[in-house]
Each structure stands twice: as C-alpha cells, then as structure tokens.
C-alpha cells in the first residue's frame, strides 16, 4: 500500500478519494457522473446512429419497439421515435446537448457573476448599487420564466438557451461573491495590500478572488444539475433546442403524446437517463458541499 502511495499521480488524487471514502452513495454518484460524461463525450463513436443527421433518419423506421428491426436490418436496442430516430442514439446525443448547455451556461454565468461580484465589492458606492439592484431584479424572476421570456424575444436555438440560462445564473454568483468579498475586505491582508500600493485589479484577482471563490465552486455542481433540468424544461415546453437536434427534455416531450397508447420507450428512456444523470450530480454535489463545510464535517 505504501508503494502505491508513492505513485505521484495517485497521491495527487488522494485528497479527492478521501472526500468520497466512506460515502458509498456519493461514490456511486461519482461513477454515474463519469459514465454520463464519457457517454456524452464519446456519443459519435458509441451511438449506432447519428440522430442529428437527417440522412440517417427515415420515417419508415418510425415507432419501432425496443429490439425492433430497422429497414436496413439492424436492430434498434431501445426502439425508435415517430420520425425514425433510434432512442439509444438520441439519448446519447441528448446527454451531450444537455451537458454542453449546462456546463457552458453555468461557466458563463459563473465568470460573469464572479467578476461583477468582485467589482461590486471593490468599487462599492453607486457601482455596487447598480450591480446589486440588477441582481435583485434578475433573481426576482423565477429562472425558467426569465429564460422563457428571453427565448420568446431572441428565438430558440442552443446558443440562445445557453445565454438565457446564464442570465439566470450570474446573479446568484455575483451575490455570493460579494457577500464573501465584503467580509474579506475588512481583513488585514487586504488593508496591507492597499497600503502597499497594489492596484485594485491585482487585489481583486490575486487576493480577493482566491478567498471568495470557494462557496461558488461548492454550488457549481448543483448549478449544473439545475441548468440541466432548466434546459429540459425549456425544451419540454418547445422553446429550447431545435426539434431536429433534440436534447433529453425534448425527447421526453416528444414521447409524452405516445404514453397513453403504450409506446412508453420514447419518453421513459430519456426520462430515466435524465433522472439518473441529475441524481448522480446532486449526490456528488451534496458530498462536496458537506466536505467544504467544516461544521457539517465535524458533526460527521
């Protein structure tokens, strides 16, 4: 064992492993997250069909049950939807869309939110007031409603969904960073840096940022799972991604019409995958949050 500990790669992983040791649910969640990420990354290699390529689709292959035979003789493992999309492939590509939208919107929201939060902290006064009132305004709308309104104005599409979700996300990050930042500002090291004539910009990014970022990083996975669900909701409502490139939410929505007639696979399969993916991320996120919170950790 001590031999393996000396491996430099493993040693670097050690603190990470420690977080999940003794928490089987969180560990299982982590495995789920990794599998989801791998499937999403490797979908073009793994999927039997490219469901976004119209040349590979044929309505004559429509509504096949699981294990149904397609016109070219291949077998559709999880069945097809009405326009002949192989559900297994569509789910793989759908996860890709869902994760892409969630990660990008959360990243944009986080960067914008953190920067604005830091600016508000540093500048104070009217800059702070304007930024924080904008935050108040943004968070006073329910996230999905805000995104719905934005999409109604700008039209639908993956890029617009990312943008619409990011607008809902930046505000909470800005508020969080400012709250932590304000308490940091009172500390001696900041005062020392100021006396030392260090520029505001440098204080912001070299002193304040490293100390204010950790709560944002803790809510990051939760924000991603929230964005996945929000994207699914928007697509379910028909204002998200284009219907020729369905995400999980749109697949569920499409399948909704077929539930009563017994063609369950069209919405149940993507529905289960969505639940498992969000659940995995949430379990991991929970563990990370507990780990980062010393009070909870002490309680064990």
């Amino acid at each position: 064992m001590s031999a393996s500990m000396s491996e430099p790669g493993l040693r670097r992983l050690e603190p990470f492993r420690a977080i999940f040791r003794g928490y089987p649910a969180a560990a299982a969640g982590l495995v789920g997250v990794v599998i989801c990420a791998l499937i999403a990354l490797l979908a073009p290699v793994l999927a039997p069909q490219n469901p976004f390529n119209q040349n590979e689709l044929d309505i004559m292959n429509g509504l096949l049950p699981p294990m149904g035979e397609m016109m070219d003789g291949s077998v559709s493992l999880l069945g097809t939807d009405a326009v002949g999309r192989d559900i297994l492939s569509a789910v793989m590509y759908g996860m890709r869309t869902s994760l892409l939208v969630a990660i990008l919107s959360v990243s944009i929201g986080m960067v914008v939110g953190v920067v604005l939060g830091l600016v508000a902290t540093m500048r104070g006064g009217w800059v702070d007031a304007i930024i924080m009132r904008a935050v108040d305004l943004t968070v006073s709308f329910p996230g999905v409603l805000l995104a719905l309104m934005l999409l109604a104005v700008f039209g639908s599409g993956v890029d617009k969904v990312i943008f619409a979700l990011a607008i809902g996300i930046w505000a909470q990050n800005a508020r969080l960073v400012r709250a932590v930042g304000l308490s940091e500002m009172k500390k001696d090291y900041i005062a020392a840096a100021r006396i030392g004539g260090i520029s505001d910009l440098r204080i912001m990014f070299h002193f304040l940022l490293p100390n204010a970022i950790s709560p944002v990083l803790v809510i990051l996975p939760m924000a991603i799972s929230g964005a996945i669900v929000a994207e699914a909701t928007l697509s379910f409502l028909g204002v998200g991604v284009p219907i020729t490139e369905p995400s999980l939410g749109l697949l569920i929505s499409n399948g909704n019409d077929y539930l009563l007639s017994g063609r369950w696979w069209i919405s149940v399969v993507p529905g289960l995958v969505l639940v498992l993916m969000v659940l995995s991320i949430n379990v991991v996120a929970d563990r990370l949050r507990d780990h980062a919170n010393p009070y909870l950790q002490a309680k064990g």
């Binding site: 119209q54 309505i59 039209g155 020729t244 007639s261």
Partner: protein
Amino acid sequence: MGRSFVTALLLASCSAFVVSPASAETLRMAYGTAPVSADPYPYSDTQTGSLAEHVFEMLVGLDDAPLLATEWEWDSPTSMVFKLREGVNFSNGAPFVARDVVYSMCRMMYRVDGRANVVTSALGPVTNVVAVDDHTVRFETTAPYPIITQKLKFLKILSAEAAGVEGDITFDQDGDCGLVDAYPSQADFDTGSAAIGTGPYIYESFQSTGDADLVRNENYWGELPEWDRVEIRSVPNNGARIAGLLAGDYDIVERPSAEDLQVIERDENFDFSTVPGLQTMFIVLDTSADGAGGVTAADGSNPLADTRVRQALSMAIDRNAITERLFAGNATPASQFAPSYMPGAPAMPDLVTDLDQAKALLAEAGYADGFALELNVPADRYTNGPLVAQAITQYWTRLGVDVTLRTEPWSVFQTRRTEGEMGAFMYGWGHPQGAAQLISGAFAQRNDDLGLGAANFSNYNSPAFEEAMQAWAVEVDPARSQELVAEAMKQAVADMPGIPLYYNHELWAHRADIELVGGAEGRTVATMARSK
C-alpha cells in the same frame, strides 16, 4: 339532528333522481382550441365558428343547402335575390325578416377599430343590400360576383330588433348605416344579452376561458336536436382531452391524435368518427427572382425561382409514407391545391415520388451541389405539423438540400410570415368557399376588386394562370367556372409555387353509444351527434 340528517338524505336522493335523467340528455364536448368570443363576427377560427353555429344561422348553409334563405337567383348580372324562410323566429321571439339581413350585412361591413370581420373584405364588392319585402332581399354588386353565396355562408344573421334598431335600414359599404351606436359590443355577446340568433341553441353562459353552456331553443324552426343542454369545454392539451373522455367527463372530444385512436380502438366503450376534411396542407415557396428569405445558393441566385427546383422538391417527398406513418391513414396524399375529393375539384393525377429524377432535375437547374434552405413551420398549429416537417427535412436532405428546420409558436410564425421573411413555410388552407379558394388567395396576383391574391407569399406570376383566375373570378356560369378552376389548378401544379402535401381528415373521439356524422369543415357541433 337525526331528522335533519334524514331530510338531507331524502333531498339528496331526490336531487339525484332529478339530475340523472336530465344529464342523460346533456351533451358534453371538449374543444381543442378555446373559442375566442360569443361574438360571431370578428373571428374566423374554427372553434369560434363551431360555437356560433349552435346559436346563429346563415342564409346559405356550409353544405351549400338552403338555410335561412330558401332560394336565390341572379336577376341581373350584378344583383342576386334571396327568398327568405318564413315562420322563423329569433330566440327573443322577434320574427326573422329581410331587415335583419340588411342589419347583419351592415354589421359585417363595419370595422371596429379598423378591424375587418370574417368576410368584410370578401363582401367588399357588395354595393347595396335592399329589403324588397319582408321575405325578399336583393344583393347588388359592382361587377358579376359569382362566389357571393360562398362568402355569405359566413354571414351569421343577427336580430335588428334585439339591437333596438327600428324601421328601415339603408345599407352603405363601410357598414355605418347610421347604426354605429346600436351595434352590440363583444362584451354584449359574451354576457349573452346580444347573442340572439335563430339557431337550435341559446346561450346560457360564455366564459373567457372558452367554456360555454347552451340550452335547446324549443321554438327552433327546424328539426329539434336531441340534446336539451350542451356544455362546451376548452381543453387545448391533447392528452388531457382524451383522458377526459376516458374518465367520462366528456361525451365527444375533437381532434384526437393518431396515437389517441390506438387507445380508443382498444376500448369498447369508445369509438371515433372521421371524415375527409377540407384542409390542404402545403409548403409555400417564394419564387421571387430577387431572393427568398432563408434560401441561399452558392451563386447568390434564388433556386426556388426555377420551376425545376420546385418540382424536384415536390418529387423528393413521399406523401404516402407521411399519411401512412405519421397519420395512420387519417390524411390523404395531396395531388393538387384543393382536396381532390371535394365537389368542384378537378381530376388530377397523383404526384410522383422519385428521388433520382428529383436529383436529375436539380442538377439540370444548376444546383447539383444543392443549396441551403430554411423551412418554417408553426409548432402548435397543425396536427403532426412538426413531425411532417421533420419528414420533409429528411426527404430534402436526401435530395442534397441543406435544410434548417425552424419551428416556432404560431403567433411568432404569423408575424414573420406577414413580414415576408420566409422563403419556404408550411401552411394549411381550408376550402369552405370552393375548390379555387387556395389558388385564388395564395397564388394569384393581388387584386382587391376581384378578391384575388390576398395572401400571395409565393410571388408567383404566371400569365396563363393569371388569365384563368381573373376569368374565374367573374364567371357566373358554374360549368365554365369549373373549367377555369381546372385550367388554373393544372397550371399551378405544373409550376409548383407551393408544394401540396396532404389533406387532413377531421377526427372526433366519442362515447360508443353516440352516433356522429361530422362535416368536412371540422366543426364540432351538437347537432351532428345523436345517441344510438
């Protein structure tokens, strides 16, 4: 306390006894879209029309049969005389006379806040309406206007007396008629005070949610309908509507999906009825040489301006696959721009599906490498619209066209369409006014005097087609009129300023003990149902 309990029980059992036979004669129907108002004039959508049809009647029925008029004829090339049915009363007791027709025409022509009513524009050529005697009305027009009876199918007759109008009414073309203050408002209709018609039902209530309760007009002049009470509920969600039927909340629900029919077929307590409808689904192509919205070719030209490209696009589509796979047979592949089975539609051969020939045509036109096209489709308007659009995207992609499918809510779609931003869009057009309705509205050059080309988004301009259309617009002889329609239709199908796709069938799901004979217009009315 014990006694009051027994009394309550007795009362309850009494009321149960009273209610059950009455409810047996109540018909509960669920609409797929909410009627906008009880006012039958400003709104042309199917459901508002269906609701109004219970209460109001027209001179000529939707099936071209006499309704409030018993006979009509041209007494000169520019005037038509209607004989009115005698012994008809409005639900407020007032007798139906010629004055009511003049009053209704005035109201139809009057634009509230500049807004046209259902057939305000269509009846534009009418210069005068004269009450010759109590049961004779003369319509005078600028020029021969042969399709006036088709347009009058949408003139619901109101009671002049109910509006407090007395004496003779002098018609004028903008509908002022000196009556502006007397016209009831939409609210007057919705509260029921102005909703006085000659129809088989009377309004009991109308809610802004589109729910309405109606009671039978016991003094109706025609055959009394079976149901003494009708409850209409608006349930836009497809699944909720069919679930409501299965749960016993409704007796008839309109527009079940092909999927819903699978459920209905398995359940012996329920049944469905279908009738080939009057709606042609088609794709409009902007043929303008200056370019079309969302259509781009390598050489900067508009490929859609070339007839061969349009034919290739049509040929790439397998209409049978669409109607069989996506509609389970509840749609008919289109061969022209009017349902081929409707009276007056010319006989036309089936449209060819041939991908190789389509590719050859495209190459011949100089687009062997394809071009990019944005196909616009309303997401929430047509049965299976987005599915059909995806099927067409598949076909055109196979042809070598780079298709981007754009679906959006009807309201957004409508705005962009009106602004002419769409080079290719999917649309549905009903034909209650005859087989030439689509081609005369969507493909003819705009001519307000003849009522042509009100929605020509294709910018189609063919001299031969134009000549036939203009001759048709003033042709009074029915046989010659039909020939002209056939001529224009053949030209339009050869040139393909649009691509005919399929004809929607109208569908109703209902209790198995109800017999339903629906009209091709797809209106859901209580008079079409009777118990077995």
